[in-house]
Symmetry: C2
Subunit: 255 residues, 2 copies
């Protein structure tokens, strides 16, 4: 079984991507299951095989503990850990070629709190796994924010110990010219630096390194139009086949 | 006037830092004002000179629009922009040497949505500004997460176009040995790489670059114990004096 974590900032299109990637994989005759890990999601366009809301629901947490929206979200994520063994045993029932994991709306609560990382290790166990980091095309079309997203993606890679494929999502919202420009930045640091204008030396080196590390790794996709999925699937297979270095030895689940 | 944005992931201690930094600056006989930009904060230990909740309150947004906690938070941040000109005119009344800005609980909603960036430009205008990025010491004590936070800090720097001072916060929660180790990582990429173990070549280069760029820039502070503020204040003065390169020409507020 392969585990694919769908990651990205609030509004980058994680849930729609999860549904459309499942549809695509089913068309390829791959058994595909979905795990929803977002305790605060309101509507899902797919039927999850495991839904964390069966254990922790952010609305109920807010009511039961009389919390504000921010505290309720944080508490919900952290409460997941108290049900870890039941969750693990439910998830172990899932049989599929690919298991897609739709992560909480805000990547910060998943990536930078201990629970998210522990739960992701618990889910994948010793199986091969990767993350799709979705670049919100609205943010990506501004050069400085594009660099910012590259850095965020690297940050998530370190924190979750997952190989990451960078996906430029919702390209249907871009003009052809904007799309071409963004892909150009991904191909050459020079293009990006030209666009940024004045940049200090450290940033210059950083950008060179970030773009160099991208290789063929920024994939334009429209979940809306269903375009880009062939290329994305090929990249997923390449990374799972070990073309991408893992950051660590075998993951060592702590739970 | 100087503007200091207090930044960090949920739980990194932004609000307490804001209060304690104000107390410290007042002791130095610096006029200091506070802007609260978090529409979802429940309790504040200080009296803000401007409180965004007077315009947008996440609780009311949740009730009025019948939203779940996640949607309510996002909507609250975005609604701030609809009141931008009133907010600007209120903020322009503030007179102080230093204006401290306490940002929303989740940095993602501030840094990676358009509103946060626009509001921060609106607030600072053409004045000198910087960000304090708080490293949560609980996260920072694990080497991989330490790297992840360095990357997140760089990402925020690009996105908000602010010089950033990295602060290791809540050091009272660390043992002496843990503190020494973290500061050692900040001083030498070799120390950090030794701790990480197996690392691919790209990560190696990235870590070297991140640590090199830190210079004397990771400052241990305990808001609880009031320690580290002399060093932090000296660094704030150094950066405001222009010792730190700005990423861009003069900020150009779009509003």
């Amino acid at each position: 079984m392969y585990y694919v974590f769908i990651l990205g900032t609030a509004g980058s299109g994680k849930t729609t991507m999860t549904k459309n990637l499942q549809d695509y994989l089913l068309d390829q005759e791959m058994d595909t299951a979905i795990i929803n890990l977002d305790p605060a999601v309101e509507h899902l366009p797919y039927t999850p095989d495991f839904d964390v809301r069966d254990y922790v629901d952010a609305y109920e947490v807010m009511d039961n503990y009389q919390l504000g929206p921010n505290s309720a979200l944080i508490a919900s994520i952290d409460l997941i850990l108290t049900r870890a063994s039941e969750i693990k045993s439910d998830i172990d029932q899932i049989e599929a070629n690919y298991v897609l994991i739709d992560t909480p709306g805000q990547i910060e609560l998943f990536a930078y709190r201990e629970t998210g990382r522990l739960i992701s290790k618990l889910i994948r166990g010793n199986n091969k796994a990767l993350g799709l980091f979705l670049f919100d095309s609205f943010l990506a079309k501004e050069a400085r924010s594009f660099v910012s997203l590259l850095l965020l993606s690297s940050s998530i890679k370190f924190r979750l110990e997952l190989p990451i494929i960078n996906v430029l999502n919702k390209v249907d919202l871009l003009t052809d010219k904007e799309l071409e420009q963004i892909l150009g930045w991904g191909e050459s640091a020079e293009n990006l630096i030209d666009e940024l204008g004045k940049v200090d030396e450290y940033s210059l080196e950083l950008i060179n390194l970030l773009i160099e590390s991208l290789s063929s790794n920024l994939i334009p996709v429209s979940s809306e139009k269903g375009s880009g999925f062939d290329e994305l699937y090929a990249e997923i297979q390449r990374v799972l086949a070990g073309g991408e270095d893992y950051l660590t030895e075998e993951p060592n689940p702590k739970l």
